[in-house]
Symmetry: D2
Subunit: 285 residues, 4 copies
């Protein structure tokens, strides 16, 4: 039998998720998304009867459920006792919450965001969002601009590909020889992260994707005055903000791009991930 999917709170991605699931013919209820215009809104009591509860991304902000699109507030600790062990909870960036819910309440919480396919699918809007930010914050084209990407993870790879395709001159820094070989194989210039010092002056744009303080004061001093720096790493990011301010460098912090620039695409990634989880557990979808 088709499970009833309850979407509890979250941002515009959850609103789009509701629409996408409806388009697929699923049984959907939503709660806590009324300011986003989500369909199928119900009361919390009703929503908690769902077979699968789809929690926000991230699940909580502090002690409360992550509810930016409603005026209601909800302590997470008051939610868990109301749930049943036979319900499946799916949330984003759940960290160790899954383990705690199982131990304390016997609840099953799985992460729809940590799966490789979700990470990749989110890297696409992140790379596009970074390009949009770069376009908005410079007075030149990306075409013929000299770009440095720090880090060659998922986002670095896709960003390098897209920038190259737009006609930028792309250099990517990485630590491992294998990554350097990949960077060259994809047609970019490569540089070992450790050897960046002394090479930074020529870049019009620097994108940081590495979760490490690569752009410290010494390196920032090497960048040009009109260099634009876009930091895509999660907080605390990879740029020494104090030094950047002192030097007058423009640093754009850009965490959480998918939900901002392409919530519909981000929602589709969540949807797919949810389907894969259900499929792997042998649940009906």
């Amino acid at each position: 039998m088709k499970p009833i999917l309850s979407i509890l709170g979250g941002d515009m991605r959850q609103v789009h998720l509701a629409r996408l699931l409806l388009e697929d013919g699923k049984d959907v209820m939503t709660w806590g998304l009324e300011q986003g215009g989500a369909p199928k809104g119900v009361s919390l009591d009703r929503a908690l009867e769902g077979d699968v509860l789809l929690l926000p991304l991230p699940v909580c902000r502090g002690e409360r459920l992550n509810l930016p699109l409603t005026d209601t507030e909800l302590e997470a600790s008051r939610l868990w006792p109301r749930l049943r062990y036979d319900q499946l909870l799916l949330g984003g960036m759940t960290g160790d919450l899954g383990r705690r819910l199982m131990t304390d309440h016997g609840l099953t919480l799985l992460d729809y965001y940590s799966r490789e396919e979700a990470q990749v699918a989110n890297a696409v809007p992140t790379a596009e969002g970074a390009i949009q930010l770069a376009m908005e914050s410079t007075d030149r084209t990306l075409h013929a601009s000299r770009c440095l990407i720090i880090g060659y993870g998922r986002i670095g790879r896709l960003l390098a590909d897209r920038l190259l395709a737009l006609g930028a001159e792309v250099t990517v820094s990485a630590r491992k020889y294998g990554d350097l070989a990949w960077i060259q194989a994809w047609g970019c210039q490569s540089v070992q992260t450790g050897a960046l010092t002394g090479q930074l002056e020529r870049f019009d744009l620097i994108f940081n994707t590495a979760p490490a303080l690569i752009l410290d004061g010494t390196r920032l001093r090497e960048t040009r005055e009109d260099c634009v720096i876009i930091d895509l790493a999660s907080a605390p990011g990879g740029v020494d903000q104090t030094a950047a301010r002192r030097l007058g460098r423009q640093v754009i912090l850009a965490p959480g791009l998918p939900g901002k620039v392409a919530p519909r695409t981000a929602a589709a990634a969540i949807r797919d991930s949810i389907y894969h989880i259900l499929e792997e557990r042998g649940e009906p979808i």
Copy 2:
């Protein structure tokens, strides 16, 4: 001997032009650009002594010189009598002004914008600007979106290439068999403009580059409600605005993108064009 270049008015492109010419070691004076922070500002009297007078793009707005970056106003008809026949005037989108100035005042005015290399160099920021607008106005990624480009001129070609590289599914419409063959050779789907009717429902984004009313009421009715239309053609554009409003379609008018999204790149195009004109006339540069 090095000619003295006077930049008279214009927008941020002229400000960047002044900087770029200075970086090249040219003798530059500017007038009418003070709100843009242009270097080397002088009085109008002084500016009119230059050997080469660089006029705005377009030269005039109505009867007046195009002066968005100063509080002064200047009737064009009062400017011409103050110029000498041995000065070279260079302006953008001069239309038939050159012929009139020669006939009425014996002045030589050439167009730095109509040359093929300037048109191509401006198509690059136009294509990028269109992509930026598309990113800003949709809630999905360009990646995997279905895009239609109407018209396969300079802008259409570059835009198709960039969209394809970003992972969009790109269809381009054109009238001539030769253009349709080019569209296929570049890896896009092609459709004859006349055969567009009946095929419009599947597009998430439509970019019009053709200076003709292709998207009339009948065709607009075929587009999806959430379809975003970006009109890059000069006024009056290629979209029936009244019908679009009535149908609730989002139409973004986007003329003059290079000066808005990448004035520095647009200025470099003007600079190169100026150099080519001087070189071809055997003038010193």
Copy 3:
């Protein structure tokens, strides 16, 4: 009523043309293609009864019809008197033969190869064929190789795009500023043809597409010993063969690539061109 299409002689492209027309459900007869395994072979008498006569590409070799796939020979001058004024003759690279046939015999001969769409559609296999030759004749990858393309016509454009995509470092030379701007817009290095001298040593591969003697002795002397030169221009090509031999440079002459490397694709281009001609003349297809 459906016209009867007679294919008279030609190479493997005509054999594939016969198959493609049959796949489209056309009425087809062939003559002079038996060694290529063409379907629907008939006698010459029979073939000459067709409504549309599809002649080879090129139509003649010297005084004879171009018949590489049969042992029969046929003087062209003996063929024309046997044709009727109400038959439509279509041939490839017809030069001034069309005018002569009209004047001398009242026959209508049109060229299916000179149309823009046919030229573009043939540039695709030419560019691919050039890449295949380059791969076969070097002991390194195209990836990371330094390539020069002389000339920015149809073939130059597509070849530049494909080489760039394979990871080569691509420089294109052209004469006109407009072309140089296009070359840069597509992400390649540009160089004015006149300024090539002094820059040739760094190239691993040189592709000539220009119908002019650019690579004379002086310039060839500048190329590296292990430089491979692929001449795609029609005879006499753009390379001083004598000088190249004396210098020991490897020059690969590669005219007529589409028929050699991708006869099926080349045949599809001819087919499309034929359909367009018939359509424009209001003939049934």
Copy 4:
């Protein structure tokens, strides 16, 4: 002090390796490569005095050293006793030979080919070689052809990128959801390997990169008669040869492409890998 590098046997890659090391100013001796025109040839006795001994790729063919470019034969078992524990041995595809040499003879043998950067660097010429083979074995262009790539490892990824860039319609099959997400992020069609059955008829070309029997008799029967299959997996490959022969399918076995199509590039990959090994061991280079 600079180490003396002895290259012992191998194919054209080792000949190019000798040249590349000399270009870098290294101390090089070679033995067993005379038919390839290798520089610095010496006697075996002399060669065995090197500080670093560079063995072939693979090291042995059966019981003998892999010596295709000399008439001499050399039992591997007679070589090892002549080497000293303070010499560094580097070979390609060493398998468990390293462990055996250490146990039996106290010798240190490391693999210059198994490192990630060498594998990536070799995937580039493999992908190009596959494209060359595909061009040579079809009568159509890769442009507009429908290609299936089975497997999304290093070679699959690069091959997909290159084919797409040449204008092919590219589908890639993989097992894992993460890989399927990557395939889509790069702009290709994805299909789960398990779901290939029933979808094979539409492909003009199939490239197998997976070391598993995916193309068994059942699936081969689904392919079109004129489908060309290129098997890039190591022996025994991924195609049921018997079934293919019976069905008349053209299967091209293509192991070891880098050494065949681009030995110079393959040699550069080996050189880089050797430098990295020496650097990581703190040896002088």
